[in-house]
Symmetry: D2
Subunit: 290 residues, 4 copies
């Protein structure tokens, strides 16, 4: 009974690219982490070590830097350009997946004026994209990660199952905090204003988190996904992974003190993890998107 | 056009459990990180915040600790016990996935004798399992992560595609280093000696890495997966993710020195990432395994 | 010949405290990581395990939470209050050092208006303080860490020593990037507007980084420290640790492309590390400050 | 009133060096992380950006790799060689500090036999050294970090101060766990068998942790330091930083279960942090050692 080769892919991961655009009115930074995964007719390198169809990951890295010479633009466009290049130029490569993280920078203010060439990192979320291309169709997923949010009220949790291991008291006013990891799938890979789309999606996620009176983090998750869909017809599905970053009210009664929702211990582990998807009824199938 | 709820799951992640077994001949430590993900008839909590079918993640955490009172044993058995409990006791829960990491400890030697109750952490890989149970079938995947290995010779890489972005020189003797992330799927969830199976699989991975003269990391990957399959009939598929941890020979010629394969720079990023699977021709479908 | 006890201290580290102030006009978050180190007449617990003079670290943690019940305010004030408490209430404790990190949050905007109780984390630097109190004098050091900055021009590096191991080409226009770790010592622990002082110091650091035409990171460091001192008479010393986060211009010539200062590889390791201090000629001695 | 330059140093940090020694009987790996800090007559680069006395950190990195061509040997010897080189060859450099971390590797066993050129990483502690040289005297500190240890019994904690914030119950049998960060200072920098010295010191730390019946982590700390001193006359001081990694007994009574010291929650934060030093009465002053 034989052993066969199953699914496989390979590529260069975490290519750190910084591009400076030097405009007359000031410089602009694009700071990226690019990861590539290629698959196709690659059985021989697995089975015999024959690399005749293998484009080295080093060459993939070089391609990222060479393509950046022409400008990077929006990460969705750059990922599309890279993914199409690998599949269209390499006969053995039948699918390329390019994932990019973009770190945020803002101009430093000096005496209230934005500096022309000095920047500092922002920390309110990393912009992401994952583009998949199979030689015919391209799927574009945009996203944001490491966007940490907290509501100091407006969150309840009660009416849940009580089994023999349940000790959690019901809560009618708790802190709700999470680190948003959101990805949204576009209907197609046609041209659009990806930057505007991203700003709008991120604002929708933040607004829905802020103004949903929450009875469960699941409900907040669905509200966030739905808000993105409502605002952008070309987005067909939103996937969210939300760790429930627990904040425990500290019992101060041993010290003769009450604690009316003011003093909390922020725990590291364990945490709840809520994952879900909101999608349009007429969403096309995801294909190779995720 | 409506918005609907897609796939979703929830649970407590990273429950840190340490159990001490206090035998007469010496103590024994079991040090685990347990993560649970449940799915089923959970639409209402997403859509309206009605939690009537939600078992709190806090209760899941309590269950982990309560079950540990009876002993933990092998992580595959403990994960099976937990997964079956959640599905079989909660009508709304139709699938449970329990993932466990086990950290290694060894007895400290004092004057050459193993101490009865003093231990130190080992670092040669974390043992893992992921068990999925749908109320009918259970799938068991075992694994190891963070097992860092290096061959100082016996690795070549040449004969690859040269495109316009290729500058990599061919190598007939290079360092090959990776951090093994391996998972293997068992044919069924029947009783067996999981500890012995794990020892054997890990030894097979290490031996195949060591004695494969490598023409590509893909070839080494396939050899590693195949070695595990060859040794254990009840293992039907092995999935591996191997970062190619590049070690670059330093050019010492500016200092009037040669460098006959001795002095290397170990790079952090970027790295190659090779992912692949080796499976039996007659492997049952993976079902919910991965 | 005997063995004696040398310097020692102990305390609870990384107490994670989140306080919500619930004002009528909106809530306010204070998100802290508090670490305490006490020293004094503690030889017996080291030498014999007699804990009669040891205030448990658990009690120290409780104190942090209990004190937060009255409000936290500025971290320098909170650290002073804690440090004085431990020394003044425990006869055996002769010195307390309290270090606090404060994580930044900003109100989320919904339809352009700040939400009353919804926040997201900012990432442009963590505010810090270290207060030391010996029963008589208190020293206050304020600071900022994880403030990542980059100048896309205005940085040169040439005219340095060339020894037999020097291969670095001189640069008249390079990227200068660092993650600022700055701490500044106040002349005394008297009352002042610590928040305003911190805003001013951080603005001075950013402005000096931005508008110094740099011939070395050392020069920029000194300009940053001096700028803080110039703006605030009560600050007497500024210590800076600046990793030189190298950005290497990618050689695109193998691909027939030039690279006029546009495409860079951002390296992780190694990095330069520049450490220095700027202080007033009449600065009082640091005492136990750092 | 003027601003002056205070203490300062600079250098290349985290130079990752892997050296392969290719002996006939098998290869040998040396895997290091080298950090250099130089100080001296460096005011001008701070004050005016004149780099005439600055040896670039890039040249320092090159020196590490070039010196490795001749062999690395024990990390104390390699650090001494580097430190002396920088001070003795650069007139402006008056002090060099070289810190090295060494990662452990062991030969992989294949069919019970050690492979000649295949290795895997061990995780029971990272060996360290810090050498300081001022042109006249060299101080050598050796150490170990990330050595995680646990005693499952033999640890008590009672008889401590109870203040108004104390709620901790006394314990007569608790888990004691820590991640050892130990550094020990040698009497001089003369030649010796550093490898043997390190093995002996590490064994002493582990043995003292194992066989000390502990009434406080401070007591265990002092026992560990003293054990190293007792075993090696040429070691004059041992400094230890021991986080108290709390393991909390889980209250299983809500589930009708007892918990006779078996089921624990391993907490991340906060943790106690105990720091102390054991030294010989006749220890020479530390000079620039630490």
């Amino acid at each position: 009974m034989g052993i066969v080769l199953g699914d496989n892919q390979y590529g260069k991961a975490e290519v750190r690219l910084v591009r400076i655009d030097r405009g007359a009115a000031g410089h602009h930074i694009t700071d990226l982490n690019v990861s590539i995964a290629l698959s196709g007719d690659l059985a021989e390198t697995h089975l015999s070590g024959d690399n005749a169809k293998v484009l080295p990951t080093d060459s993939q890295k070089n391609t990222v830097y060479a393509f950046a010479r022409d400008g990077v633009g929006q990460i969705e466009d750059f990922a599309l350009r890279l993914a199409r290049h690998f599949v269209d130029s390499q006969p053995a490569i039948h699918r390329a997946r390019v994932a990019i993280e973009q770190y945020g920078w803002t101009r430093t203010l000096v005496d209230g004026q934005p500096a022309s060439h000095s920047f500092h990192r922002t920390g309110d979320g990393t912009r992401t994209t994952t583009v998949t291309y199979d030689g015919d169709t391209a799927w574009v997923v945009s996203g944001v990660t490491e966007l940490t949010v907290l509501n100091s009220t407006g969150s309840e949790f009660w009416g849940y199952v009580k089994d023999e291991y349940t000790t959690l008291p019901e809560a009618t006013d708790r802190i709700l905090a999470t680190a948003v990891d959101a990805r949204w799938r576009h209907r197609d890979a046609g041209e659009r204003d990806w930057a505007q789309s991203h700003r709008q999606a991120k604002a929708a996620l933040l607004a829905a988190f802020a103004d949903t009176h929450s009875f469960s983090l699941q409900q907040t998750l669905h509200a966030m996904g739905s808000r993105v869909l409502t605002g952008q017809p070309d987005v067909v599905e939103v996937r969210l992974a939300l760790p429930n970053k627990h904040h425990f009210l500290v019992d101060l009664s041993p010290f003769g003190l009450d604690n009316p929702g003011e003093v909390f211990f922020a725990a590291d582990r364990p945490y709840g993890l809520i994952e879900g998807s909101a999608l349009r009824e007429d969403a096309p199938p995801p294909g190779g998107a995720w």
